[in-house]
Amino acid sequence: MSAVPVLVVVGMLLPFAYVDRADAPEPSAEKIERSVSTYSLEGSVERVEPPKPTSAGVTLTIGSDVLFAYASAVVDESAQAAVAAQLDQIPAGAQVTVEGHTDSRGGDAVNLPLSAARAEAVAAVLRAHRPDLVLAVVGKASSEPAVSETDEQAMARNRRVELSWAG
């Protein structure tokens, strides 16, 4: 078998061997299409889950990143309506604990006041929309992480506000 046609074909095919090379500045249309079957969308969108039974009774958890800008304790204006909608799940007249939690970055000097301010900001939304509720508001900083801080996504999960009431 002559090597020439082999080399010719290899030379023709080699450029196509880099269709999906990881360093390409643009994903190929083929890779985008393949992404649907090769990769999983599951878990890639984090949303507010229904309240769950906990040691505190029933707890509704909202991630802080969708409520507040970085290092801010002001509930984002675009999030306020969605937060108010979540409050329909709380029974009338319930005693609700509002807890602010942070990741460990920055230490207690930053996180204690930030978590307390964020809990208070969410409590203000509760007072405005559910004046029937009895509130206790507390900042926990990073003292009660939801998960081990192994990567950026785990740290994001630890940044949260929890609303708890008796189930």
């Binding site: 249309a29 984002d76 192994t150």
Partner: protein, 190 residues
């Protein structure tokens, strides 16, 4: 507390495609080839197609992220956020230009981040949702060109794939919390 360090990335796609190319060559020389398949898109073709169809650029001002521990800054320019033709994913394109105090040659995005993975997250605060880069089955397997490299003061063009918007969202906020970075108003285009 910091994130996980990267492990050496093996170009799995290149090795497997190269091996398949060799097998394909052997097959072609041994028997009559069937009618050829349509020409697959190359990166050059994709680039040409992109320029021909003009991937819409977002009108978001570039921002400067200051890295922790006085390691330097990174210019971050969002180029586009486009809903893909499959209707189930959207692709974010971002340019990163590092200005590090102690740079290395051929830096990936994680190397710029002191060897810890960092990807943009997209926030839909109106619906209280957070979109992360979609993942594969292997460890540290995300749908992004994470192996792309750049030099200090030169631009690294990155892309990241996310699930398509679940709600009627006009714009997302891009965030990279490790860099204290937020870029609001990143519009989704079709």
């Amino acid at each position: 507390m910091r994130g996980m360090p990267t492990s050496p990335h093996h170009p799995r796609a290149r090795a497997s495609i190269a091996a398949l190319s060799v097998v394909a060559v052997l097959g072609l020389t041994a028997c009559t080839s069937p009618e050829p398949d349509p020409e697959p898109a190359t990166s050059e073709t994709a680039t040409a197609d992109a320029s021909a169809s003009a991937t819409p650029e977002v009108s978001v001002e570039p921002v400067v992220a200051t890295l922790p521990d006085e390691r330097g800054t990174v210019d971050v320019a969002v180029r586009s956020l486009v809903l893909d033709d499959n209707g189930t994913t959207m692709t974010l394109r971002v340019d990163f230009t590092p200005h590090l105090v102690k740079p290395e040659d051929g830096m990936t995005l994680s190397m710029i981040n002191n060897f810890f993975f960092i990807f943009p997250e997209l926030l839909d605060r109106e619906h209280l949702k957070r979109y992360s880069v979609i993942t594969g089955e292997g460890p540290q397997d995300w749908l992004t060109n994470e192996d792309t490299r750049t030099e200090n003061d030169e631009t690294l063009s990155s892309w990241f794939v996310y699930a398509a918007p679940e709600d009627d969202v006009e714009a997302f906020t891009l965030t990279m919390d490790g860099w204290a970075l937020e870029v609001p108003g990143v519009e989704v285009t079709a």
